[in-house]
Amino acid sequence: MDASDGLNEPRKAIALISGGLDSMLAARLIADQGIHVEGINFYTGFCVEGHTHAIRNQHRAKPKRNNALWVAERLNIKLHIIDVIEQYKDVVINPKHGYGANMNPCLGCKSFMVGKARQWMEQNGFDFIITGEVIGQRPKSQRRDTMPVVARESGAFDRLLRPLCARLLPPTLPEREGWVNREKLLRMNGRSRKPQMALAKQFGFRDYAQPAGGCCFLTDKRYSHKLADLWQSRGEKRYDLDDIMLLKVGRHLRPRANFKLIVGRDDGENNFLHGYRRQYVHMFPTSHKGPLVLVNGTADASDLQLAARLTARFSQGKEDEEVTVAVCNTEGGQQLVAVRPMSPAEIPGDWYL
């Protein structure tokens, strides 16, 4: 047997493409063996994307690219981006293997994604799945003892090939059948990135993404804290896409249990938050330049007064005696209130989420 199916059609592999270097290298290693490779990328809603940050003005000088698309283009392969927002909720809300350091359900997430890739493989007549996993690279999901768990729970079993560390693992179906040459696969392990960087240099890959905290907001301590606060305020673990988008944007303060404020930090964020003006009571200063602020929750008149004073605090009138703030309802009605900006001493540190 070789890399064809006997009818002169090459064997086909679907590669999980995160946009990072490891999955890029894994896909390239297999494509170089004559396998037809296509990429698959899952959008959970928690993905760290360059242009989520680019909502903020200060990042606009940086290139706005989707790294998975960028990788696919460099590899000259097709990329299928799959919306798994709804199905992924169960992974986050009921993590089968618990959370990592923050709200990241890493092992459950990996099993889920490989499982989705397995379904796609079966529906589209592909032969096996590739990931960029490396033994010991991640403390939760990429360990020697967790790799069989992912293979089993995803239903991929021995059709799951990890080219970067395959020679440290038992041979998979593509290796046993001779679709790929095991001798050309690698034995990477550990947290060092040097072997990957050396291989990238060998392949001529430059400008690849090197996300410091991985590709998921759930690994971020501050984001996880905001998500936990959201669930606590609701009394249940529940979210929709707007909820988790808004957790990525603005400064979040919870002055009282029944409401929180989302404060735009610059024009880019103000513009983004403006898109929610029909869903949330919102406010902005009219006498001075300042933020757009969404009121998330149920706020009475005294809450709105407090919110207006906080809005004034983040305006250019923060040192003035009085700032006029427009308080707007979701129907477009507007009321002007004159308030004294809060001083920093009046804002307890634990209001900041």
């Binding site: 994307e49 989707n66 988008m245």
Partner: protein, 74 residues
């Protein structure tokens, strides 16, 4: 060949790309699709998606905070 429109305003990338991907599956070769977006990342991502998948970028236009990207299904 017909002309279609997709409203992807207020969606952050990659959702505009995903919506384009879903819409294009329902169209015929040679059809034109106008995609309305508000995330500037779409200016990079939708053309990249077109190049990877064999579709043609016809035009991009910006008006205020909104962008229109026109593609031809390949």
């Amino acid at each position: 060949m017909s002309r279609h429109e997709l409203d992807a305003r207020r969606l952050l990338c990659p959702l505009p790309v995903i919506r384009v991907q879903e819409k294009v599956k329902t169209l015929e070769r040679g059809d034109t699709l106008d995609v309305l977006c508000s995330d500037p990342g779409a200016l990079n991502d939708i053309p990249a998606w077109c190049r990877i998948n064999g579709h043609k970028l016809i035009d991009t236009r910006s008006e205020g905070h909104h962008i229109t990207i026109t593609i031809e299904v390949g």
